[in-house]
């Protein structure tokens, strides 16, 4: 198995996963890590509600379609499909400003409200356009573009739209442009899909399905799985230590041994489950994994950055056979 390239060697990394697995936090960690490594980074949000700024700022201000710098070397924006459509019509189709009136017409609004797929297509088109951007010297404007992909029931529908659109539309500039976008998605040199999961049973099964579809249907490169909220082995060590107690000591401030055993026992079982499902993820997806540590305080403007940013760039590993033992307790509720 060839060693995966560094995430920093790509042009476009699309972070994906089901809702609740920490997709946005992972995208932010990668963007921050790349920025710290001296890359000029563009972090792209696609969800209707902005979340990225809240990861970096205590009182987040809106990013908007044009976006703004969140830190030196890190520009972030949220693509607004309607604004992107207006740009597309003006720039790509070279249509005159008269189109503004059409774009604002009630009739088109009603069509757009109901029409499927155009948002995804236009958002991807905008990402393609951003990837193409160069400065006066012809260098790319952004070294790395990190996309926080939409959390939908079907995680990959977003990336599959250009292919579907070409089949549905057949001809015309839109179909041709969809082809360009598809080519970017299919280019393993430039583009990588970064699936995020939790070390739990169902998220892992869903990730397996996602990776299979990514390979078979969408044709986007994927070379590792991010395991988010991976517990440390602290509780396991503590449980093993408590097992060595000869006689219960007299303690002044700590809880009694029975309570401490209950606390660390819960944590140890959780950690064992997590290690089991981390290994499952690697085996089912046939991919190595990268861990993001579980931070009890969460991951926001208050901290947690340094830990997460260095963890995301770690070389992917294949979980060892010592993680094979399935935990005995703690049903995934």
């Amino acid at each position: 198995m060839p060693k995966p390239r560094s995430l920093l060697d790509r042009r476009l990394v699309v972070v994906t996963g089901k809702g609740g697995v920490g997709k946005t936090a992972t995208a932010c960690a990668l963007a921050e890590a790349a920025r710290r490594a001296g890359r000029r980074v563009l972090l792209v949000e696609t969800a209707a509600h902005e979340q990225v700024a809240a990861c970096f700022e205590r009182s987040p201000r809106r990013l908007g379609h044009a976006g703004r710098a969140l830190a030196p070397g890190l520009h972030a924006l949220r693509i607004d499909p309607h604004a992107a459509l207006a740009e597309y019509v003006r720039i790509q189709l070279h249509l005159p400003l008269v189109t503004d009136r059409i774009l604002q017409s009630e009739i088109l609004g009603q069509l757009l409200e109901a029409a499927p797929g155009w948002r995804e297509l236009i958002v991807l088109g905008k990402i393609w356009h951003l990837e193409q951007g160069t400065d006066r010297k012809g260098r790319p404007l952004h070294d790395l573009i990190v996309v926080d992909a939409p959390a939908t029931g079907h995680g990959l529908t977003f990336l599959d739209v250009p292919r579907v659109a070409q089949q549905a539309i057949r001809a015309g500039p839109l179909s041709r442009h969809a082809g360009w976008v598809e080519a970017l998605i299919h280019d393993p040199e430039r583009t990588l899909l970064l699936p995020v999961t939790l070390p739990e049973e169902l998220p892992v099964i869903e990730t397996q399905e996602l990776v299979q579809r990514a390979r078979a249907q969408v044709g986007i490169a994927v070379d590792r799985i991010v395991i988010n909220q991976m517990p440390s082995d602290r509780a396991t060590r503590a449980r093993d230590a408590l097992a060595r107690l000869q006689a219960p000591p007299r303690l002044d401030v700590l809880p009694d041994v029975r309570a401490m055993t209950a606390m660390v026992g819960h944590g140890a079982r959780r950690a064992e489950e997590a290690r089991f499902f981390r290994r499952e993820a690697a085996q089912r997806c046939e991919l190595p994994v990268v861990d993001l540590p579980l931070l009890i305080g969460g991951f926001d403007a208050e901290g947690g950055w340094t830990e997460q940013a260095s963890a995301i760039l770690a070389e992917p590993v294949w979980p060892g056979s010592d993680d094979a033992r399935r935990a005995t307790g703690g049903d995934a509720a």
Partner: protein, 415 residues
């Protein structure tokens, strides 16, 4: 909360005894399906014929009941005797099903079309073929239509709906209204009506704003696309009336007096914000709000608050305890014993004692944070006049059904 303590059960317990429809909403990863399953189980234990219905394509619901798969037809769950002596002895009836949204709209078209030709025209349409799943929230609309039909079938006393884990999970509830708005729209009528009089699509038929919009579409997507689109809308026109009246009925059931929404969340970093947004969303929809369920809280085995413990465990007093703990530790287990997964066994007693204290205090910090977040959630629930119910993660391993029974008890009895 809400005077429930006096009655000895939660408001949710009364909802389970009365409501016809419970809709579980919440973001992904909060254990919504587990809560939906436990609610269905609790209602079944009250003697109500219950159905738990999931729209989630993942196998969470099947999993919750220890099955491999759930089909698109309801199947009964083997429940056995109630573990709780207080429940009626009549056999509990609980069924589960998964709503397949994949071809749900196809089925709807099939049901609503009278003649073969229309059906063929719609199902064979190129645009429909590729985009039916996304068509104006078609799958969500079809799912809601199915729920409404099941509620009105009187086959069940209570239906618990587990909604898809989406960032904007409430969106699908707006699908019937959106579809209705589209069918009533000028676009639909403007494009469909003239096209019906023409044997072949022609831009010349349209005047003014229509001409401009269609001109733009033709520039972007080509005339073939417009032909396909018009053809599809023409075929759908025959269904428009049925779909629109159906959409109204769905909304009546979904937001009716016999329905309650249950918001499932966790107490993680940021949960207060996302949960607040959900509560506002439920309010905006005018949906009847039933309860907030805070799921998967970590167990805290002490009577005192974790914050109190943390305040106490510091400085020299803590250092003395660590020494005493270290002094009572024996040698580490021999390596030939049980394999200790991915553990660096800290051999020195002082290191081992430190690791115990680290883990205990980390657990206390995590629980203190959770409790603080739960208090915020409780206040938010109280301002909306609903219960906030805490579900604690079990420490002991449990059989799946046993685990559901335990959650069902927590949902219906006050702590």
């Amino acid at each position: 909360m809400s005077g429930s303590a006096a009655a000895g059960g939660t408001d949710l317990a009364r909802t389970l005894a009365r409501a016809r429809l419970i809709v579980c909403v919440g973001t992904g990863g909060v254990g919504k399906t587990t809560i939906a399953a436990a609610l269905g189980l609790a209602a079944a234990r009250l003697g109500r014929r219950s159905l738990v219905l999931t729209i989630d394509p993942a196998r969470r619901l099947a999993n919750a009941f220890g099955r491999d798969e759930v089909g698109s037809e309801p199947v009964p769950v083997e429940l056995g005797a109630s573990p709780d002596a207080g429940h009626p002895t009549a056999p509990a009836r609980l069924e589960i099903m998964m709503l397949s949204t994949r071809r749900a709209f196809d089925q709807l078209v099939f049901r609503l079309t009278q003649d073969e030709a229309t059906r063929e025209r719609i199902l064979g349409n190129r645009i429909y073929h590729h985009l039916a799943e996304a068509l104006a929230g078609s799958s969500e609309y079809a799912a809601m239509a199915e729920v409404q039909a099941l509620v009105e079938s009187a086959r069940y006393d209570l239906i618990v709906v587990d909604t898809p884990p989406a960032e904007h999970a409430l969106d699908f509830l707006r699908a019937p209204g959106r579809l209705q708005a589209f069918l009533d729209s000028r676009f639909f009528h403007g494009l469909v009506r003239p096209a019906m009089t023409a044997s072949r699509f022609s831009l010349r038929l349209f005047a003014g704003p229509f001409h401009r919009v269609l001109g733009l579409l033709e520039r972007i997507a080509g005339v073939g696309f417009l032909e396909d689109l018009t053809e599809l809308l023409r075929a759908l026109d025959g269904l428009a009336g049925d779909l629109a009246s159906r959409a109204r009925r769905i909304e009546e059931v979904l937001f009716g007096a016999d329905t309650r929404f249950v918001l499932v969340c966790r107490a993680l970093a940021g949960s207060e914000r996302t949960t607040g947004e959900f509560m506002a969303g439920i309010g905006d929809l005018g949906a009847p709000f039933g309860a907030v369920v805070v799921n998967r809280l970590q167990p805290w085995p002490l009577a005192e608050d974790p914050a109190e413990l943390l305040a106490r465990c510091r400085g020299e007093a803590l250092a003395r305890d660590v020494e005493r703990l270290a002094a009572s530790l024996g040698p580490p287990e021999d390596a030939s014993g049980t394999t200790r997964a991915a553990t660096d066994v800290a051999n020195a007693p002082s290191d081992a004692a430190e690791s115990v204290v680290d883990a205990v205090l980390e657990h206390a910090r995590a629980c203190a944070l959770e409790q603080r977040r739960v208090r915020v959630l409780e206040e938010a629930a109280a301002t909306r006049g609903v219960d906030c119910i805490r579900i604690t993660e079990r420490s002991e391993p449990l059989d799946r059904l046993e685990g559901l029974e335990a959650i069902a008890r927590q949902l219906t009895t006050t702590a």
